[in-house]
Amino acid sequence: MSGSKDGTIHLVGVEAARLVRSAASTLGDPSSGRYAIIGGLAVLCRCETAKRVTSDIDTVTAGLERGALVAEKMMIVGAGAPDDMKFDWIVTDPLELADLEGLPEKQQLFLAAHRWALESAGLVNVDVDYRDNPNGSLRSVTESLAVARAPHLLP
């Protein structure tokens, strides 16, 4: 269970090419740290044996104000379909422990885990065996967090 030896993930086919192009245009510069891929694509980025990964792009994205969502007692989740690709996102704000006080345990876990997923994510280079060889980088959650969120994608 790991990425490839040269640190680059090699994908195949038109659907992968569409995904790389769409991610670049919709999510923007991965080095900004403002998003991290989660879900099946993250498992595919991090694990050699991921199976049946679809081209949906699930992300955690950065909110702006520390604890603002917690104070409003809400979580922002959304979905869109730019370039005919399905995107889902969960917005996370910067957090400190004090922000979580008084919240139910499950909500604390949800908020802290998704924020940690965003902050601990790293870059993965991707290239695709398809026509003009599209390539780029994605920011993906770590291997353990990817698997924790979608364990059913491993055999």
């Binding site: 269970m1 490839s4 993930i9 090699h10 994908l11 195949v12 086919g13 038109v14 659907e15 992968a16 995904l19 099946g40 694509l41 595919l44 050699e48 044996t49 991921a50 199976k51 049946r52 990964v53 679809t54 081209s55 065996d129 398809y130 026509r131 059913h152 994608l153 055999p155």
Partner: protein
């Protein structure tokens, strides 16, 4: 549509499943409503529920439509469909209509009025009848496969027999069983998607994971000697790579291991000798003897990069990778629901 033969037998089967599930604290049979249904009084954790239980042999789309329509016109709290077989897509339609069901092959789904239970239970098939219906044996698999491969121009019985290397009388018997189950019309046209899901239930290839280096193996001699000449039965690429090649929205790594149907056990043994066994984590490919020879005789060239990126293999028609996806109740069926095969016919 044949009803379940005996209300008593169906009642006992349902009661056994309810007892195992622990869903209800008590239940008892009330009135028999007609030859195909009865009412049931049950006590859940919080309240008393009155069920109308409807029986049938095989719940198809038409039957379910009638049950839904009837449920809207009656005052029953809940409706349960009890059937020998409830195909996957029909289960979904029942769930959407908030109707409970019990498939006697071993699955109980009960919802509403403070009850939610979805469990696998011991299969309890009803006593066999003299007039078998549905997919039976290799002939049944072959005939169902053949008509799904060509749903709008169904092949003759003789053509299916030839292609599947079986006798014409056995194919004829298989076709009759499918007609009795209303899965194939008198003209030989398949009921779609019902026949697909029926075939998916019966489709159980055994894939063997092999290690070594597939490319090196294929270059031991003339690669056509191993894979089979074009136009003859041979290795047929299937699985997720084939599905992606036919347009399924799957993202694959270049290191993904291809899966193949092969014509016979001899081919598996030969490959196994060269490549050795492997685990899922380290395999270079996987092979299964095709459940019907049609999987290996209908292979074609697919020019999609999703396939050619792995080598020059002939590919099984979309029906075959679709049957494998149908066997995966989570991701596989989700992928299947959104997949309209490029250049192929959707029969699911």
């Amino acid at each position: 549509m044949a009803v379940v033969q005996s209300v008593v037998e169906a009642k006992e089967s349902l009661f056994a499943a309810l007892r195992v599930s622990g869903a209800l604290t008590s239940f008892k049979l009330e009135d028999q409503l007609d030859s195909g249904s009865f009412s049931l009084q049950a006590q859940g954790q919080r309240r008393h529920v009155q069920f109308s239980v409807t029986l049938c042999s095989r719940a198809d789309s038409a039957f379910v439509g009638a049950v839904i329509s009837r449920s809207l016109q009656t005052s029953w709290d809940r409706v349960i469909v009890v059937a020998d077989r409830i195909p996957f897509d029909v289960r979904g339609a029942l769930g959407e209509a908030d109707i409970s069901w019990y498939d006697r092959r071993g699955h109980l789904h009960l919802t509403g009025q403070g009850i939610y239970i979805d469990v696998t239970v011991e299969p309890d098939p009803r006593s066999p009848t003299s007039t078998a219906e549905g997919i039976r044996g290799r002939s049944g698999l072959a005939y169902a496969t053949a008509v799904l491969l060509s749903p709008y121009d169904p092949p003759s019985l003789r053509a299916v027999a030839r292609a599947s290397e079986l006798s014409a009388p056995s194919i004829s018997t298989a076709a009759a069983a499918l007609r009795r189950a209303a899965l194939v019309s008198e003209e030989g046209r398949p009921l779609i998607p019902d026949l697909f899901w029926e075939l998916a239930d019966a489709w159980s290839p055994t894939f063997v994971h092999l290690g070594g280096d597939l490319t090196e193996f294929l270059h031991q001699g003339d690669v056509r000697d191993i894979l089979g000449e074009d136009g003859t039965p041979g290795w047929a690429l299937t699985g997720d790579i084939a599905a992606a090649g036919w347009g399924a929205k799957l993202i694959m790594r270049s290191t993904a291991a291809p899966a193949f149907y092969v014509p016979d056990l001899h081919t598996v043994r030969l490959a196994r000798r060269f490549l050795g066994d492997a685990t899922h984590e380290s395999h270079s490919c996987s092979l299964a003897v095709a459940p019907t020879p049609l999987a290996c005789s209908t292979r074609v060239t697919v020019s999609s990069a999703a396939v050619t990126g792995y080598g020059h293999f002939l590919v099984a028609p979309p029906l075959f990778p679709a049957l494998e996806l149908a066997g995966d109740s989570a991701r596989g069926r989700e992928i299947l629901s959104e997949w309209n095969p490029t250049g192929g016919v959707r029969v699911w």
